[in-house]
């Protein structure tokens, strides 16, 4: 009896302690002025790693960034445990409301590649949107399917099963890729949808870019999606994607830049930043699968506001020149006005 009493007392104490700790939690992790803490997307991490020493040199602001994933970036900026969050997907209306006065600013741009493992096929395989959608829906299951052969005349495609490999962790790459497939295919849009993690009806998942790359390397006939920089750095064979103009495009800097031709001259809202599947007028070079990635900052940022304004402005202007060597594409001029206006909203606030 005594023992039961003691145990229940201890549990009670634990619960009380937990409730107390929960209340004081949000007051932690705020460093002093002159330094900024951010977290979120892994996709722009190579670029942000270049920015950190450069921003320290140019602005004297010390930046700490941990690549924890877009979801964590949104969650932590909503909880205000960091000074800025980064996300590959623009915030949904619900998320924006939950964030209570946050601005979402596009600060980097890059293409997604479609690497595959087909030993014996030396010529680059050409794919297009409908074929990719059908592969990821499980409708096309073999490399020598008629639809793939039609795109690759003269290539001797083997009778190999296609193994779809996707990201099992929530990822901006998945968002960008499903965004493209849903734009192309109504069936994909209704059956799978667009998100940082979705239910692909076929294939196997792996964690992180390195994870999917590992599975593709060890699986004959595998096909996946990773950012172009990763593919190029690891010398993967990736597919050429046929665009609306009939060109077979590569996800290099010029390919992604060409895909921006249909943006309005002055972007005024985020939904206008649709760059997947560009129209034929963008030319044969335009690469159809690319994505913006965003920084999320609270409009009332207290004594961090001045540093945040300085850093984000620097990132979307001078910081862009660090992009091309990493296969990040400099932001188009058309978003500058939108970005400057949003940056100005970052104030000390109440």
């Amino acid at each position: 009896m005594k023992r039961i009493l003691a145990v229940s007392l201890v549990v009670l104490a634990a619960v009380a302690l937990a409730a107390f700790a929960g209340r004081t939690q949000s007051a932690s992790a705020k460093p002093t002025a002159g330094s900024l803490v951010g977290t979120g997307a892994t996709f722009p991490f190579p670029l942000i790693s270049k920015w950190i020493p450069a921003a320290d040199n140019a602005l004297g602001i010390k930046i700490t960034y941990s690549a924890t994933g877009s979801g964590a970036g949104i969650a932590q900026i909503t909880a205000r445990t960091v000074d800025f969050g980064a996300s590959d997907a623009p915030l949904s209306p619900d998320q924006l409301a939950a964030c209570k006065g946050c601005v979402v600013i596009p600060w980097a741009l890059a293409g997604m590649s479609v690497p595959y493992n087909l030993p014996g096929v030396s010529k680059r395989v050409i794919l297009n949107g409908p074929v990719l959608a059908n592969i990821f829906l499980g409708n096309i299951t073999n490399w020598n399917a008629a639809a793939i052969r039609a795109l690759n005349p003269g290539v001797n495609l083997p009778d190999t099963k296609i193994t779809v490999v996707y990201r099992s962790d929530g990822s901006g790459s998945t968002y960008a890729f499903t965004n493209y497939l849903a734009t192309i295919s109504p069936q994909f849009k209704s059956k799978v949808g667009v998100n940082t993690s979705v239910n692909f009806p076929t294939g196997t998942g792996a964690r992180g870019s390195a994870g999917v790359a590992g599975v593709v390397k060890s699986t004959e006939g595998a096909l996946t999606y990773v950012d172009a920089a990763y593919s190029i750095a690891n010398k993967f064979q990736f597919a050429l994607i046929k665009n609306r103009a009939g060109g077979n495009a590569t996800p290099g800097v010029r390919g992604v830049q060409a895909a921006l031709c249909d943006l309005p001259a002055k972007v005024t809202a985020l939904p206008q930043l649709k760059i997947v599947d560009p129209p034929a007028k963008c030319g044969k070079r335009a690469y159809p699968i690319s994505t913006f990635t965003y920084v999320v900052v609270p409009t009332s940022s207290g004594d961090k506001a001045a540093d945040l304004r300085k850093f984000v402005y620097w990132a979307v202007t001078a910081g862009q020149k660090f992009g091309p060597p990493l296969f990040f594409v400099p932001l188009p001029k058309s978003v500058n006005g939108f970005n400057y206006r949003e940056i100005k909203k970052i104030q000390a606030g109440s």
């Binding site: 145990v7 201890v10 549990v11 104490a13 634990a14 619960v15 302690l17 937990a18 700790a21 929960g22 924890t68 994933g69 877009s70 979801g71 964590a72 949104i74 969650a75 997907a89 949904s92 619900d94 998320q95 939950a98 099963k161 193994t163 099992s168 962790d169 929530g170 990822s171 799978v192 949808g193 667009v194 998100n195 940082t196 993690s197 979705v198 239910n199 692909f200 294939g203 196997t204 998942g205 792996a206 964690r207 994870g211 590992g214 599975v215 060890s218 699986t219």
Partner: protein, 324 residues
């Protein structure tokens, strides 16, 4: 010099020295109580926090979450059945293979192997447990998975077992079966080490007695050693099961991560631990995040229940044995 060495042990100690001992005693007791309390408080706190953070999902989906066969972050439909299935099936396959193997290893080391051979082999088997699970998972992706796909699974399909729907379909490098085999490798060192310890402790008189009565070696192992060590073996097996239930990373790397209950064990699925590891960080909505914590709560309940059952069985066996 000599006076200290031959001090009369019966003589009363000096006051100062006694107090010194008492202080040490008190300090020791304080530390011990604090450590025990801290562990209990921590358990309570973690349990509270997991349920607290899962609360939105528990309210939204209720208990039906447990048997809902859906996980779609796009439409915010969440359920745990896919992952409970993955966790239970991978762990059970692992248990089914690992238990006889572990007992066989333990018997070999205690009964059959010459002492010179037993010690290094025992060390090697225990070192298997020292491989970090993430490294084992990596080996699972790169080496073991492809081997399972190219050799082991086609071979199983050629045996009479291949007629079972669980072994049908296309062999695959990552799936329920591959994950189960990796788990098997992870739990063998634990169960075999405990079993070896148990077999060593079986009193020599008992086995000698059985042999003297004319039983063969196998009969003495079966009738005496197993009977004597049975509660311990059950506890060892359940300890291994607990390890298998909770393993996240190695399973995550080898199970294939598909949100579906596969008809064949060769196909990809997902487990509770694996899902938590892969999706919590990237969760984009509150529903998704709290649903993942709901999965964590379920996993915690399953693990605690396994532990309690293990303790219960051990107690029952002890009682039964004493009654004999």
């Amino acid at each position: 010099m000599t006076s200290t060495a031959y001090e009369n042990p019966a003589a009363p100690e000096s006051d100062l020295r006694r107090r010194g001992i008492r202080l040490g005693d008190l300090l020791f007791r304080g530390i011990a109580v604090a450590a025990a309390l801290a562990a209990t408080v921590l358990l309570g706190w973690i349990a509270f926090k997991v349920f607290d953070l899962a609360w939105p999902a528990i309210q939204d989906f209720g208990l039906s979450f447990v048997w809902t066969d859906a996980w779609d972050p796009v439409t915010n439909e969440f359920g745990a059945l896919i992952f409970i299935y993955g966790t239970v099936v991978t762990s059970m396959i692992a248990l089914l293979i690992a238990t006889p193997l572990s007992i066989a290893i333990a018997l070999f080391l205690t009964e059959i192997a010459p002492r010179k051979l037993a010690a290094p082999i025992a060390t090697m088997v225990e070192l298997l447990a020292a491989i970090p699970s993430v490294v084992l998972g990596l080996w699972g992706i790169i080496v073991f998975g492809p081997w399972v796909r190219d050799h082991l699974e086609p071979w199983i399909q050629d045996t009479p077992l291949g007629w079972l729907p669980q072994f049908s379909g296309e062999p695959s490098a990552s799936g329920i079966f591959t994950a189960a085999l990796v788990l098997t490798i992870m739990i063998i060192p634990i169960t075999s080490a405990i079993c070896r310890e148990l077999f060593i402790r079986v009193p020599k008189d008992l086995t000698d007695g059985a042999l003297a009565l004319g039983s063969t070696r196998w009969e003495s192992i079966r009738g005496v050693m197993f009977a004597y060590a049975a509660p311990g073996i059950v506890a060892a097996v359940l300890l291994g099961l607990g390890r298998a239930f909770g393993e996240a990373i190695a399973v995550n790397q080898t199970i294939g991560n598909r949100n579906a209950i596969p008809s064949s064990w060769f196909e990809p699925g997902d487990s509770l631990g694996s899902k938590i590891a892969s999706e919590y960080v990237g969760a984009t909505s509150l529903e998704q995040a709290s649903s993942i914590l709901y999965l964590a709560a379920i996993l915690m309940v399953i693990s605690l229940a396994t532990n309690l059952v293990a303790q219960f069985i051990v107690v029952r066996f002890e009682r039964a044995r004493r009654a004999v």
